[in-house]
């Protein structure tokens, strides 16, 4: 599903440049649930940004679902993001003046899907994350866990190939974190490829594979026995 070869990325810091990613090679198959771990400054967020086409690599190739991702302008990147990727952020990033349902329906708006179908699909995904009865509520009326579940529903609504989650549990307490991870596991069980960036070991252990980054290189890449989140709830 994702193929990365010899990926380099450096940022200019004043006159010198900071080499953040120093040749990343990784293959992720469809249906995997991968945790990307590392301390801050290890390059894990940069890697995720490049995977999410929010940033462009200096060197190396990136193929997503058989499509080489290169020469991206903003418009093309936006289309690919909409088609291939779903994002889940640490701070949810819901649009605060839109209801839960409207938030979930928004990616479909950018796919030019008709309003009726949008509403219907969005409602299905809300049901899927168990928040159908909160459809007309604004994000400010929801708890953190509920917000993240809405965000996951939104990420899924566009039916992406890959779900990218950047510290999805970073702003949540552990009980809520496990609930969210349970949802992510369930989605993964249905076959969706999911990448989770985290620095919490217990969250990483709920994935099927852990990639450990340090100073811009992968120092460890191992399959783990998945801990089911439901055991903790």
């Amino acid at each position: 599903m994702i193929e990365i070869k010899d990926l380099h990325k450096s940022y200019k810091v004043g006159k010198s440049s900071l080499h953040v990613l120093k040749g990343i090679n990784i293959n992720i198959e469809g249906g995997e649930l991968v945790a990307i771990m590392g301390s801050s400054g290890s390059g894990k967020s940069t890697l995720l940004n490049i995977l999410g086409m929010l940033d462009v690599a200096d060197k190396g190739s990136y193929t997503l679902d058989g499509v080489p991702i290169k020469d991206l302008d903003e418009t093309k990147a936006a289309k690919y993001r909409n088609k291939f990727l779903g994002f889940v952020f640490q701070s949810f990033n819901l649009i605060n003046y839109k209801t839960a349902l409207e938030n979930v329906a928004l990616p479909l708006y950018y796919q030019r899907i008709s309003r009726k179908v949008r509403q219907k699909t969005a409602m299905e995904y809300l049901e899927k994350v168990g928040l159908a009865e909160w459809a007309v509520h604004l994000p400010s009326e929801l708890s953190g866990g509920q917000k993240q579940r809405i965000a996951i529903a939104r990420a899924l609504a566009a039916q992406p190939k890959v779900l990218l989650a950047d510290e999805p549990t970073g702003a949540l307490d552990s009980t809520t974190s496990y609930e969210v991870m349970q949802l992510i596991q369930e989605i993964n069980d249905e076959g969706k490829t999911i990448l989770v960036v985290t620095h919490e070991t217990d969250i990483a252990n709920m994935c099927k594979r852990i990639v450990l980054l340090k100073d811009g290189v992968i120092i460890e890449d191992k399959k783990v026995t998945q801990v089911r989140a439901s055991e903790h709830v």
């Binding site: 940004n49 999410g52 929010l54 940033d55 903003e74 418009t75 936006a78 289309k79 993001r81 909409n82 088609k83 779903g86 994002f87 952020f89 640490q90 701070s91 990033n93 819901l94 649009i95 605060n96 003046y97 839109k98 409207e102 928004l106 990616p107 708006y109 950018y110 796919q111 030019r112 008709s114 309003r115 939104r154 990420a155 566009a158």
Partner: protein, 409 residues
């Protein structure tokens, strides 16, 4: 870009961000409103100005006799020039093509008496043409006519205030008044837009006055009206020819500046019009200033609005909004709000102006109005600048990488 869906999205955004909508809309509405009001007041001032200064006919020239200051043709300098009936006839004959009408004006002061009331008034002995030269409006009766001039009748036309002063509500028409020692019949009462002073005159036929003054043929000053169709250049040429003609008749050196004076109202008119156009410039300047203030206001708000929405725009981009659709959304929204608000401000202003009407006459603002074209143009201008003001930050926001916009503070 303009499909029903994107409108729905925009109406949703507008209706859920009422404060933001109100702020940007209010700026535009207020800007247009003030522009319309100020511009209208400016026009009102101009109206008052025109009423004050453009009271007399604009196609007349006045010839005043003077005193020569150069010897010429065997005459010494310092000779007093006087016009007489022969001058009138000569002008009439020689300038038939340019001439519309002409009238002499002999000015005197005289005691005017009716029954036991009397007062001192300006007396003007004139020909019928004088009525047009001064734009005298007859309230009742008639003005001096040709028969009066030919027959040297003792008829008088009196000002409204003369009637007020002497007749105390009585109808003056047909009554006899004493001008000096002689009795005149009042044949007309007039009013004049030039103000109160203009309504304290008494008009009589100039021939009658000549008869009274020992049958003289002197006429005082001569007022000549040219045909308007000869235009400004024609009038200037006529002025030159008339002056040369009169100087020759009275043996005045062509270079003598003081033998005859000529005042051309066309020149005054030009001056007045210059003053008027300066007033117009001030009005325009104020209008442009208001518009610029409005544009700056809407620009500030748009910058603020886009800044406030940076994160939202980042989210939209992350879930698939193209930069173009982001810009289009912001522009569509801002244009919609400014247009709607501009419309409200425009009609609010016009409504206020028209409901004011003439109620501000005392403040020299007469019949304030704004040209619909100007008002609509100003509104469109503000909408365009609102859009540009929105476009610049919108483009920047659309260029920002979502990851930057979404960075947690």
């Amino acid at each position: 870009m303009f499909n029903r869906d994107s409108w729905q999205e925009i109406f949703e955004t507008i209706s859920k961000n009422k404060l933001r909508t109100f702020l940007s809309g209010f700026t535009v509405a207020l800007g247009i409103f003030i522009f319309v009001i100020l511009f209208g007041f400016g026009n009102g001032l101009k109206n008052s100005f025109q009423e004050f200064f453009v009271d007399d006919a604009t196609n007349i020239m006045r010839l005043f006799p003077g005193r020569t200051n150069k010897p010429y043709n065997g005459f010494k300098s310092g000779r007093v020039i006087e016009f007489d009936n022969a001058d009138l006839a000569a002008i009439k004959k020689n300038f038939a093509f340019q001439l519309q009408y002409m009238t002499p004006r002999i000015e005197r002061n005289s005691t005017v008496k009716f029954k036991n009331k009397s007062n001192n008034y300006g007396l003007r002995a004139v020909a019928p043409g004088h009525q047009y030269a001064e734009k005298t409006i007859l309230m009742k009766g008639r003005f001096i006519n040709h028969q009066d001039v030919i027959n040297k009748t003792k008829y008088a036309v009196i000002g409204r205030l003369v009637e007020n002063d002497l007749f105390e509500g009585e109808d003056a028409l047909g009554k006899y008044i004493n001008i000096g020692k002689r009795s005149f019949k009042v044949v007309g009462v007039f009013q004049d837009d030039g103000g109160d002073n203009e309504e304290r005159y008494v008009y009589t036929p100039y021939t009658t006055n000549q008869l009274i003054e020992k049958n003289t043929d002197k006429v005082g000053q001569i007022i000549v009206a040219f045909k308007p169709m000869i235009g400004y250049d024609g009038a200037m040429q006529f002025e030159e020819e008339l002056m040369a003609f009169m100087k020759k008749r009275h043996d005045i050196s062509p270079s003598d500046e003081s033998g005859i004076f000529l005042r051309n109202v066309a020149d005054d008119l030009e001056q007045n019009q210059q003053f008027g156009s300066m007033l117009q410039m001030v009005v325009t300047f104020v209008g442009i200033g208001t518009l610029i203030a409005g544009i700056i206001g809407i620009s500030n708000i748009m910058v603020y609005v886009v800044k406030e929405r940076t994160k939202e725009l980042g989210v939209r981009k992350a879930i698939g909004a193209t930069p173009r659709s982001v810009i289009a959304m912001i522009l569509q929204e801002s244009i919609f709000i400014t247009t709607a608000a501009g419309y409200i401000g425009l009609f609010g202003g016009i409504f206020l102006l028209s409901s004011l009407g003439n109620s501000l006459d005392d403040y020299f603002i007469k019949n304030p109005y704004i040209n619909m074209g100007t008002a609509v143009f100003a509104t469109i201008l503000l909408v365009i600048f609102g859009a540009i003001a929105g476009y610049v930050p919108a483009r920047r926001a659309a260029r920002i990488k979502p990851i930057v916009a979404l960075r947690d503070e």
